[in-house]
């Protein structure tokens, strides 16, 4: 927990930056891919999207966006756990949340490397 306390400003900055990315982009992405794509209203062609995602701009962008998203959500999750679980939940909640963020980051890196 000592380390986490020392990194608090950094964690908050990632949370903040991630929050702005999410506010700007997530509704559009979920609407486009999850809803319109899922319903078949939006043509999500493989060739074009693959080229877009694996381009020199696409990859670092996806890395920043997804990793920012995961750390943002996990930091907020830590606060949610604390609010609902009380003081006892502080340390386990923080460990759990940031461990989840680390796992998600590793998964993102792995996916992007093979893209």
């Amino acid at each position: 927990m000592k380390l986490i306390h020392r990194l608090e400003p950094l964690l908050w900055m990632i949370f903040g930056a991630g929050g702005y990315q999410l506010a700007l982009l997530l509704p559009g992405l979920v609407l486009g891919v999850g809803l319109l794509g899922g319903l078949g209203f939006l043509p999500l062609e493989y060739e074009r999207l693959h080229a877009l995602a694996s381009s020199a701009v696409g990859k670092p962008f996806l890395a920043g966006f997804l990793i920012g998203l995961f750390w943002h959500c996990c930091h907020h999750l830590r606060h949610l756990i604390l609010d609902l679980g009380g003081e006892r939940a502080a340390a386990p909640g923080a460990y759990f949340s940031y461990a989840l963020a680390i796992v998600a980051t590793a998964a993102t890196v792995q996916v992007l490397v093979v893209l």
Binding site: H5, P9, W12, M13, H79, L82, D83, A89, A90
Partner: protein, 246 residues
């Protein structure tokens, strides 16, 4: 003027007689222009002299009459009886230990306020002969809002974070520290850093914004806390110097 009888449920705690706080009901004939504090005083004067509560100015400036009315932290001298329907429930401020009835223990609150050094800190004090520290209206505007606090502690009662992290230094203290950090005459930013940006400082806040909803003086402590996060984070990275912000 016609009186109207209203029902009050008041959380009572008298340590010598009760092991736990309990609600007790009172029927109080109220004048149409009464505030909740008037009703409490009427109970104490005419119905039950054992009731304890704090108040002083009766005009929203001393900050001593804060209580929960129907669950919301308010100044009882500014809460009109006619604005509530049905039974009115009065409790002592949440997040504070109860000394007696509606009186809470504020020691911890006072210590937290002191911990941010809410006064002008100078490396070198000027001699009186050298005159006053001058400040432009624009420089005053920078922090004026954050200096309006009356230490009523309503924001502490509203804060969900304080319920799970009792050592969080809290909204009013941070707003006050921020107020001095923004003051052009002050040089104490580095000395406030630990209290405001250490382990029980601004980072505990999850921006519930509750403090700003209940603040009777429109200090907007949530704004101060979150601006202080940005400043503190930039200082942590070294982008912003710690000494003088303004």
């Amino acid at each position: 003027m016609e009186t109207q009888t209203r029902k009050f449920e008041i959380l009572r705690y008298r340590p010598e007689e009760q092991s736990e706080p309990e609600f007790r009901s009172y029927e109080v004939p109220c004048m149409p222009d009464w505030v909740v504090l008037d009703a409490l005083n009427a109970i104490k004067d005419d119905i039950d002299p054992t009731l304890s509560h704090r108040w002083s100015c009766r005009m929203g400036v001393c900050g001593s009459c804060g209580m929960l009315v129907n669950g919301r932290p308010v100044l009882t001298c500014a809460a009109f009886v006619r604005d509530y329907e049905g039974t009115i429930r009065v409790e002592p401020l949440s997040n504070f230990p109860i000394v007696r009835d509606l009186v809470v223990e504020l020691d911890d609150f006072v210590h937290k306020i002191q911990s941010v050094k809410p006064w002008i800190v100078r490396k070198l004090e000027k001699d009186v002969e050298q005159g006053e520290y001058r400040q432009s209206p624009a420089q005053l505007e920078e922090f004026k809002q954050f200096s309006m606090c009356i230490n009523c502690a309503l924001c502490y009662a509203a804060c969900p974070v304080l319920a799970s992290e009792p050592d969080f230094v809290g909204p009013a203290a941070i707003a006050l520290g921020h107020r001095y950090n923004l003051d052009s005459r002050d040089e104490g930013n580095a000395e406030r850093y630990d209290a405001m940006h250490g382990h029980n400082g601004v980072w505990s806040c999850s921006y519930a914004n509750e403090c700003s909803q209940v603040c009777p003086k429109h200090v907007d402590p949530a704004m101060a806390v979150n601006q202080a996060k940005l400043t503190g984070a930039l200082q942590w990275t070294g982008i912003l110097p710690k000494k003088s912000m303004t």
